[in-house]
Structures are given as structure tokens and as C-alpha cells.
């Protein structure tokens, strides 16, 4: 077996496979299907300072090779997470990472600080790219100034590994990544969902309750891959790649394009055991290519 371990801004992963926020619950929902400790990192649901009910139903539309969602960061708030969820997940022996969102810099920083007090949470992923909330979320992630401001505020309040999740709904993602790096991020993850829409022609109405939603699944993979490749060349901090990864082959594409680790999202809905299969498949690829470590293929694209 090859050495699958990678380091993401100080965070040691036993393998480069993580789960994307909002697609794997708190991990517990998938415990019947996979050994959670075989996953490099589990990024749990987006958490905000205050509870959020999210957007009204309907929140999902199936599309060609993908799906749209407009969940809108439904969660019970950071206090509930600390009191009720954390005790259930703190002894899972892998990196349990919390995705943190907010609607202003102060909320982000306060939420991150609360998570920072939890001993067994070694990192957060800062969501500055949710397309489904009116205030905050993506509003921070679409300008270099906004992204920089929120990352600075959180960096001040949070000392452990800080991964910043970037929005693809921008003109120059490399520029945003650089500003996030300058503001103190330890790593970036990309891409969040692409803003999209679905129409019901019989009712002549949008399918989703708020009209637009975030597109995920294999449909977005080429866009994600291109952005990961661009960002990996633009920053020195590690890049975590995600967007439509369905199998080990997809994951290896992201690693070659410069990602140090990957996140699996929508694929968890099709195969709840896909994460461990991807980790195994990466190992098989490495064996086949005579690599002793996964680190040999990160950014190893020949151009």
C-alpha cells in the first residue's frame, strides 16, 4: 500500500479523501455504510452563530449529471452543535472539521472562536461561497476585498487550521485565492456550487423555492478542475479540490491538477460508501504507477 497521507495547512490526513459539507451530515448518518475512520477528514454541515431554518421547500432539482439545491444553511446554530453534536462525534478517530458560515465578519469570527474551543475539532472550513443565502455567504466570496476582510477577522479569532471554501461564481478565482492566502488562510477548498436554475414548464415557474440554487455533481467537474488548476498555480498554500468527483479516477485528476486533497459531495447520495472506495482507488492508481506516496502526484500534471 502506498503512503496516502497528506498535510493540509498543518492538518495531517491519513488519506486525501474528505467529505464535502452538507453532503455527509455529521458523518453519523453514514456510519452503517463506511468505517468513518477510513476517511481522511469529515467536513460536517454548515454551522452558523444563530440557528437557521433555511429556505422553504422545494430545495432540490435534479439536472443532467447533477443537481441543484437551495437548502440555505439550515442548522441549529453553534451552541446546539457544541452541546449536542460535538459529544457524539468527538471520538471518531479522523479529522472532524466544521464548516462555518455567517452573515457578517463578527458572526463568522464568533462562530469560529466557539468551534476553536472544541479540543477534537482540529480545523474549520470557512464558507464564504454559499449561493443560497441573501446576506453573507457568497457575498464575501465574490470580491477579493470581502474575502480578505472575513478571513482576517476569523484568523484573528481562530488559531487552528483554517481552510477557506471559494466560490466559482467569480471572474478571477485565482485573485480571490491570493487575497485569502494573504489574509492568513492555511488552505483553500474549491469549488462550492455553481449558481444555476431549473424551470417547470407546465407550471411556468422556477422549480426551486427561491428560483436559483447551487449546481453540483459531475456536470460541474470540468469547471472545478480548471479552477483548481488555476488556483494551485497562483497560491503557495495547499488546495483542496472538489466538484463532481464520483470515483477515484476523478479524484486523481484533481490531485494531478494541483489539489493536495479532495472532497466528495454529491456522490455520497448515489453511493453512501463512495468515500472509502475513492481512497482505495487512489491507492491502486499509485501502485499501478509505481508511486510510493500520493504526494508524488500532487500537481504532477505534465504541461
Amino acid at each position: 500500500m502506498a503512503d496516502l497521507s497528506v498535510n493540509i495547512g498543518g492538518l495531517e490526513l491519513k488519506n486525501p479523501v474528505m467529505t464535502a459539507s452538507g453532503t455527509f451530515g455529521y458523518g453519523l448518518e453514514f456510519a452503517d455504510f463506511v468505517n468513518l475512520e477510513d476517511i481522511g477528514g469529515i467536513i460536517v454541515k454548515g454551522t452558523t452563530l444563530k440557528p437557521r431554518e433555511g429556505n422553504p421547500y422545494p430545495r432540490m432539482a435534479e439536472t443532467a449529471q447533477g443537481m441543484l439545491n437551495c437548502v440555505g444553511l439550515q442548522n441549529k446554530g453553534v451552541d446546539y452543535f457544541c452541546e449536542h453534536i460535538y459529544p457524539q462525534i468527538k471520538d471518531i478517530r479522523t479529522n472532524m472539521i466544521v464548516n462555518v458560515s455567517g452573515s457578517c465578519c463578527e458572526d463568522y469570527a464568533e462562530c469560529a472562536a466557539r468551534i476553536g474551543e472544541l479540543e477534537r475539532i482540529p480545523a474549520i472550513e470557512l464558507n464564504i461561497s454559499c449561493p443560497n443565502v441573501k446576506q453573507g455567504g457568497m457575498a464575501f466570496g465574490v470580491t477579493a476585498e470581502g474575502a480578505s476582510a472575513v478571513v482576517r477577522a476569523v484568523r484573528e479569532a481562530y488559531k487552528k487550521t483554517l481552510i477557506v471554501k471559494l466560490s466559482p461564481n467569480v471572474t478571477d478565482i485565482a485573485g480571490i485565492a491570493r487575497s485569502v492566502e494573504d489574509a492568513g488562510a492555511d488552505a483553500v477548498s474549491l469549488i462550492n456550487t455553481l449558481m444555476g436554475m431549473a424551470v417547470d414548464i407546465e407550471k411556468r415557474r422556477p422549480v426551486l423555492s427561491i428560483a436559483t440554487g447551487g449546481l453540483s455533481g459531475p456536470a460541474v467537474k470540468p469547471v472545478a478542475l480548471r479552477m483548481v488548476w488555476q488556483v494551485a498555480k497562483a497560491v503557495k498554500i495547499p488546495v483542496v479540490g472538489l466538484g463532481g468527483i464520483m470515483n477515484a479516477r476523478d479524484a486523481v485528476e484533481f490531485l494531478l491538477a494541483g489539489a493536495s486533497a479532495v472532497e466528495i459531495g454529491t456522490a455520497n447520495f448515489i453511493d453512501p460508501a463512495v468515500t472509502v472506495k475513492v481512497a482505495r482507488g487512489i491507492d491502486e492508481y499509485l501502485e499501478r504507477h509505481g508511486c510510493r506516496s500520493v504526494r508524488e502526484i500532487i500537481g504532477a500534471l505534465e504541461e
Partner: protein
């Protein structure tokens, strides 16, 4: 309950009528325990337009033959692909998902099971489990016309069957809530219903007026089926909850339906 990902084998696929396929599946090992009202996520292979699994309720479990049945209403490419499976084909399923109907605490409880269209599917397995427990059952099944009613002979082995059709081609003419058994029949202690939402709302309205415990099975659009993606939420007295995980069966007291 522990959930499984299984590659089941189709033993038979019978079209009960045009567009409705009854899939019977088995496994080389004993199937896991399943409760009436629970569902499975069925993987669709070879469809250009269908990406997600299809959530389908458990129609029946035949323990002797180690079979689970799914009644598939072919409405899109995904369900048509499922309906085209034949004996010997494999089907990847995730099951059992969600929570089932409440089984009566006592065999003395008189239960009314109300179904419309393909919504009658989970009531067959529910009826089986309730009949085994010794409960006296009445099925009230509705359709647009006689051809819409399926598996009637099986329902009749489990309890009394009352029928309404909108065109009067079988049973009483009208909607299920207009059937005379609701007026002239015994007082029921519990109602379980599954079918089109307007029908379930009408049944819930009747149950509320008569102060009868009523459970409904919802089928909001789902992605994961596991309570992870938060797409299939229903607004309840506890806020937005996942139909796939906290349902699909809900006591109507918990719903915010205007009835």
C-alpha cells in the same frame, strides 16, 4: 435500524397495469428487517437524465420467499428504467430508510388504511403486519377508475376492502372521504394513509374532526434519503425536518397543514 447497501436480484417484474411495475427482489442472504412505511433508495443505471436514486416505498415483504416488493409508477426515465428490469437483473438498493407507521398498541384497535393510486403500495405490507398482530382492518382504496386499483385480491386477504372511483366504474362513485363506510361503518381508532397530497389532507381533515389518530406518508423530493442533504424538508411543529429521516410517516398533529 441498521441500513444496508445491497445488490438485490430481480425474481419477477409484473406490470400490474400500463406504467406500473411490481418488482420482486431477493438476496442470497436473509433480507434485513424492514418496517411498513419505510422506503428504499433504488439506483438507476443507464439513464441519461436520471442522476439520483429513486426513493420507493416498501410494498411488501415476503419472509418465506425472502423477497421485498416495490411498486414502481413509471413517470420519468429513471422509473421507466426500473420498470424495464427483468428476472435475474441486479438492482442496487439502500434500505431500510426512514420511520414506519405506528403499529397499534393493542389488537383491539380498529384500523382504517386509506390509499389512493400508487399510494396504496405501503399499505399492503402495513396491513400484513397489522393483521398478523390480530387487528381488524378496513382498507379504503381510491382511484380515478377501476383500472387504477391494484393488488385488490391481496388486500382482501387481510381485511375488509372498500373502494371509491371518481367515475364510478368500481365501488362507490366519488373520493375516498365520501365513502359510506366513514359514515355508517364502525368507529376507527387509528387511520394510516398514503396517496396524493389532496387526498391525504382530506383524510387528515376527517380524522381531525372525528378525533382519530392519523398518520400520513409524505413523498417530498429527496436526494440522499439519509438526512444529510436537507433537501426534502417538511415544515412541522419542530421547524423544517427531513422527510427521509424523521418521516416519511408523520402524525398529522406534527404537520402545519391548514386542515
Amino acid at each position: 435500524m441498521k441500513k444496508y447497501i445491497l445488490d438485490l436480484t430481480v425474481t419477477a417484474n409484473e406490470h400490474l397495469r400500463e406504467g406500473y411495475a411490481l418488482l420482486r427482489l431477493t438476496d442470497s442472504r436473509p433480507l434485513p428487517p424492514m418496517l411498513p412505511g419505510q422506503f428504499a433508495e433504488l439506483k438507476v443505471d443507464g439513464s441519461e437524465t436520471t442522476f439520483l436514486r429513486r426513493p420507493i416505498s416498501i410494498n411488501y415483504v415476503d419472509e418465506e420467499k425472502n423477497e421485498v416488493w416495490f411498486l414502481i409508477h413509471e413517470v420519468g426515465d429513471g422509473t421507466r428504467k426500473l420498470g424495464a428490469l427483468g428476472a435475474g437483473d441486479k438492482l442496487n438498493v439502500v434500505l431500510p430508510l426512514g420511520n414506519g407507521f405506528t403499529l397499534p398498541a393493542s389488537p383491539d384497535e380498529k384500523v382504517l388504511l386509506v390509499g389512493g393510486g400508487v399510494g396504496t403500495a405501503p399499505l399492503l405490507y402495513l396491513g400484513k403486519r397489522m393483521a398478523e398482530a390480530g387487528n381488524r382492518l378496513a382498507f379504503l382504496l381510491g382511484g380515478r377508475s377501476a383500472g387504477d386499483l391494484m393488488q385488490l385480491e391481496l388486500f382482501r386477504t387481510l381485511g375488509d376492502v372498500y373502494i371509491t372511483t371518481e367515475d364510478g366504474s368500481e365501488g362507490e362513485k366519488g373520493f375516498v372521504t365520501q365513502h359510506s363506510v366513514l359514515r355508517d361503518g364502525p368507529r376507527f381508532d387509528r387511520i394510516a394513509t398514503c396517496g396524493p397530497k389532496p387526498m391525504m389532507m382530506a383524510v387528515a381533515r376527517y380524522a381531525k374532526a372525528e378525533r382519530i389518530v392519523c398518520e400520513v406518508s409524505l413523498e417530498n423530493m429527496m436526494a440522499c434519503g439519509l438526512g444529510a442533504c436537507l433537501c426534502c424538508v417538511e415544515n412541522t411543529t419542530d421547524g423544517h425536518v427531513c422527510v427521509c429521516k424523521e418521516g416519511p410517516v408523520f402524525n398529522t398533529d406534527r404537520l402545519l397543514w391548514q386542515i
